[in-house]
C-alpha cells in the first residue's frame, strides 16, 4: 500500500470532503494562499478558491463563533486554530456555545462544525505553542474530541468528523505531521468512538494518546526483550470513548499504564483511570499508573525534554507493575 505523511493524509481528507459536499469549506489564519503555517493545506486554495479556503483575520474567539453560526445555518465549516494553545482564546465558542445549541433548541438546531488545531511539543516552541490541550475540553457536554495518531486515522477520523452533525474538536499532533504510514487510495472513514488495538499483549495494557503511542511502541520492543508483553490501545477519540475495547484489555491484563503528553494533573489519564476503576475494579491487579508531562510550563528549546514524557518513562511505569 502507498505511504503518505500525516500532513498529506489530513490534506486529502479535507480535499475529498470538499469535493463531495459543497457545504464543506476550510477557514482560518494562513490556510489559503500560504497553504497552512506548516504546509499542511497546500493546494486547497488553488483547487477550491478563496470562497472555500478562506484566509481570515486573527480572531480565534470570533471565528470559532462564526463557525458555530455557519454550522447552524447548514454549513459544515472546518475552522483551523493554528496552535492548540490558542484554543484558550476560542474556549467559550468551542466548548460553551456550539455544543449547547442542539440541546437548548430541543433538537431543532445542529452545529456540524469541526475545530481543527495542531497541538503538542517537539518544536521547542515554549509554553504557549507546545501544549496538548484535550483535557481543557473534557468537561463540556455536547462536544466530541478526536486525537488522531497515524496518517490512516487522521484522514479517516477527519472525514468522519466533517460528516458528523455534532461539533468536533479535532486535535492533530504537530510533531506527527511528517510521520508516514499506509493510507489506501480508496475511500474510507474511521468512525468516532472506536479505539484501536495498536499491538496485542498479555501482561500490561498501555493506553496512549498520539505521540505517546509511538513512544509506547518503542517501549514495547524494549520490554519484549525482557519478556514483558504489553498491549497498546489508542482510544483515537476521547468523546465518545470506546470503553469496551479498553475494558476488555484491562480484563485480560489486569494492569494499566495511561500515557499522554499533557500534564498529569487534570489530564484525561485521570478520567480514563477512574472509568476503569469504576467498571473493572475486580480485574485490576495493581494501581493504575499515569505517564504524563510535569506540572511545569513547557520550557523553550531543548530543555522541553525534561518535562515531557517519553519511552523511558513508559518502560519504568510498566516495570513497576510487573
Amino acid at each position: 500500500m502507498r505511504q503518505i505523511s500525516y500532513a498529506q493524509a489530513l490534506n486529502e481528507a479535507m480535499a475529498e470532503e470538499m469535493r463531495k459536499d459543497k457545504n464543506v469549506f476550510l477557514m482560518g489564519e494562513d490556510v489559503g494562499v500560504m497553504g497552512g503555517w506548516l504546509g499542511h493545506t497546500i493546494g486547497l486554495y488553488e483547487e477550491f478558491g478563496a470562497e472555500r479556503v478562506i484566509d481570515t483575520p486573527i480572531a480565534e474567539s470570533g471565528l470559532a463563533n462564526i463557525a458555530n453560526g455557519m454550522a447552524m445555518a447548514g454549513k459544515r465549516p472546518i475552522l483551523e486554530i493554528q496552535f492548540g494553545d490558542f484554543l484558550g482564546l476560542a474556549f467559550d465558542a468551542v466548548g460553551n456555545q456550539g455544543p449547547k445549541f442542539r440541546y437548548m433548541s430541543g433538537g431543532e438546531l445542529k452545529v456540524p462544525a469541526v475545530f481543527r488545531s495542531l497541538q503538542g511539543g517537539g518544536f521547542g516552541a515554549a509554553a504557549q505553542h507546545s501544549q496538548c490541550v484535550e483535557a481543557w475540553f473534557m468537561n463540556l457536554p455536547g462536544l466530541k474530541i478526536a486525537v488522531p495518531t497515524t496518517p490512516y486515522d487522521v484522514k479517516g477520523l477527519l472525514k468522519a468528523a466533517v460528516r458528523d452533525d455534532d461539533p468536533v474538536l479535532f486535535l492533530e499532533h504537530k510533531a506527527l505531521l511528517g510521520v508516514k504510514g499506509e493510507v489506501p487510495e480508496e475511500e474510507y472513514i474511521v468512525p468516532l468512538g472506536k479505539a484501536k488495538v495498536v499491538k496485542e499483549g498479555k501482561d500490561v495494557t498501555i493506553i496512549a494518546l498520539q505521540n505517546l503511542v509511538y513512544h509506547s511502541i518503542e517501549a514495547a520492543k524494549e520490554l519484549e526483550e525482557e519478556g514483558i508483553s504489553v498491549e497498546i490501545i489508542d482510544p483515537r477519540t476521547l468523546i465518545p470513548l470506546d470503553s469496551q475495547t479498553i475494558f476488555s484489555s484491562v480484563k485480560k491484563t489486569g494492569k494499566v499504564v495511561i500515557a499522554h503528553e499533557a500534564p498529569k494533573r487534570g489530564g484525561v489519564g485521570g478520567e480514563i483511570s477512574a472509568f476503569i476503576t469504576e467498571n473493572c475494579f475486580e480485574s485490576l491487579k495493581a494501581p493504575i499508573k499515569r505517564v504524563a508531562a510535569l506540572n511545569i510550563p513547557i520550557p523553550f528549546g531543548i530543555p522541553e525534554k525534561y518535562c515531557l514524557p517519553n519511552k523511558d518513562h513508559i518502560v519504568k511505569a510498566v516495570k513497576e507493575l510487573v
Binding site: 480572531a59 470570533g62 458555530n68 453560526g69 455557519m70 445555518a73 447548514g74 431543532e108 468512538g193 465518545p240
Partner: protein
C-alpha cells in the same frame, strides 16, 4: 407620513404586545410561576419594534436576553409561553427558555454569554451570502455587551467580507449596575463602526418611526452587502432583572429614570397616532383588550402542556445528533 395607516397600526400593535406581554411576565414572576431571571425591556420597546417592523419574514433575528419585544413579535404566543413556562410543547421542548429559537420563525438563540450573538450572527449572515440568499441578519446587542471582544471581532469580519448584517446596539445606558459613562470613553458607540470601515449612526431609540426609517435603510444596504452599526439610545426603566431593586442607582440616576418614563416611547407614539387621526382611543382600547385576551389564553393553553419528563431531559440523543458508538456519558 412615510408609512401607511396599516403599517402604523401594526407598529402600535407590536409595541403594545411587547408592553402588555412584559407586564404579564411581572405578574407571573410575582406569583412564582416562572423560574429563572427575566430581563425586561419595558420603556425600550421602540428600538426593537422599529427593527422588527422593518424586517422581512425571511430576515433573521439574533436577540439578546433583553429582547422580549422583538422575539414575542416574531414567535407564536402559545408556543413562546410554553417555552417560558418550561413546557414540552414550547419551541424548544422547554429547554430553550429565554434562549428560545425557531428555525421556522427565523429567530436564532440568544446565548447566555454576552456579545457572543455578534459572531454567531456574522456566521449566519456569511452562510446566507454563500448560499446567495436575499436575507439579512439583524443582530441585537446592548451597550454593555458592546465592550466584549467578540463584538469587535465580529464587526471587523462582517465589514471585511461585506456580509448582510445590521448590528443594532440598544443603548439603554446601563450594564447591570454600571452606567454608560463608566463603560467606555466614547460618547457614541456608533463611532466604533468607522474603525471597521462601516457606516454607523446614533439615533433616538425612543422614537419608533426614527428607528424604523433608519433600519429600513440599514437593512436595504445590508442586503446589498453593506453592513452597518445602528446605535439606538433609550433607557432601562427597571432593574437588570425583574426583582432587582437597582439600589446602585443614586438620586441623579433616579431622576433620569423619571425623565425616561415621562419620555415613554409608547405614550409618544400613541399621541402622534391620535393627533394624526390614524387611530381613535376606542381603536386602541380594542387592540389592547385583544392583546391581553390572547396573552391570557396563551398562558391557559401553555399550562395544559406537560413539563419535560426525566426521560426527555436526560436524553443523550438530545445532546448529540449522532452516536456512532462509544461512551458519551
Amino acid at each position: 407620513m412615510k408609512y401607511s395607516k396599516e403599517q402604523l397600526v401594526k407598529m402600535y400593535e407590536q409595541l403594545q404586545l411587547s408592553r402588555i406581554f412584559e407586564e404579564k411576565l411581572i405578574e407571573l414572576v410575582a406569583e412564582g410561576s416562572l423560574p429563572g431571571f427575566y430581563h425586561l425591556a419595558i420603556g425600550q420597546e421602540a428600538v426593537q419594534i422599529g427593527a422588527v417592523s422593518a424586517m422581512d419574514d425571511d430576515d433573521y433575528l439574533v436577540p439578546t436576553h433583553r429582547s422580549h419585544p422583538a422575539v414575542v413579535n416574531r414567535l407564536e404566543l402559545d408556543k413562546f409561553f410554553c417555552e417560558l413556562l418550561g413546557r414540552y410543547d414550547g419551541y424548544n421542548q422547554g429547554k430553550g427558555w429565554e434562549h428560545v429559537s425557531s428555525v421556522e420563525r427565523k429567530v436564532l438563540p440568544a446565548s447566555g454569554d454576552l456579545g457572543v450573538g455578534a459572531p454567531l450572527a456574522v456566521g449566519y449572515a456569511w452562510a446566507l451570502k454563500m448560499d446567495k440568499k436575499d436575507s439579512v441578519v439583524v443582530c441585537l446587542c446592548g451597550d454593555g455587551a458592546s465592550s466584549e471582544g467578540n463584538v469587535h471581532e465580529a464587526m471587523n469580519i462582517a465589514a471585511l467580507f461585506k456580509l448582510p448584517i445590521v448590528f443594532l446596539i440598544e443603548n439603554n445606558k446601563w450594564a447591570i449596575s454600571t452606567p454608560f459613562s463608566k463603560q467606555t470613553a466614547v460618547d457614541k458607540l456608533s463611532k466604533r463602526a468607522a474603525g471597521y470601515g462601516m457606516k454607523g449612526v446614533t439615533i433616538d431609540g425612543n422614537d419608533v418611526l426614527t428607528v424604523r426609517a433608519t433600519m429600513d435603510e440599514a437593512i436595504a444596504k445590508a442586503r446589498k452587502g453593506e453592513p452597518s452599526v445602528v446605535e439606538a439610545v433609550t433607557y432601562r426603566w427597571k432593574g437588570h432583572f425583574e426583582g432587582d431593586p437597582a439600589t446602585y442607582r443614586n438620586a441623579d440616576d433616579q431622576k433620569e429614570v423619571e425623565e425616561a418614563m415621562k419620555n415613554c416611547p409608547i405614550k409618544k407614539f400613541k399621541a402622534m397616532l391620535l393627533q394624526e387621526n390614524v387611530m381613535t382611543p376606542e381603536d386602541m382600547e380594542a387592540v389592547d383588550k385583544n392583546i391581553l385576551q390572547k396573552i391570557e389564553d396563551a398562558i391557559v393553553e401553555a399550562r395544559k402542556s406537560p413539563l419535560p419528563t426525566e426521560k426527555q431531559t436526560v436524553d443523550y440523543d438530545a445532546v448529540y445528533a449522532t452516536n456512532l458508538g462509544g461512551d458519551l456519558v
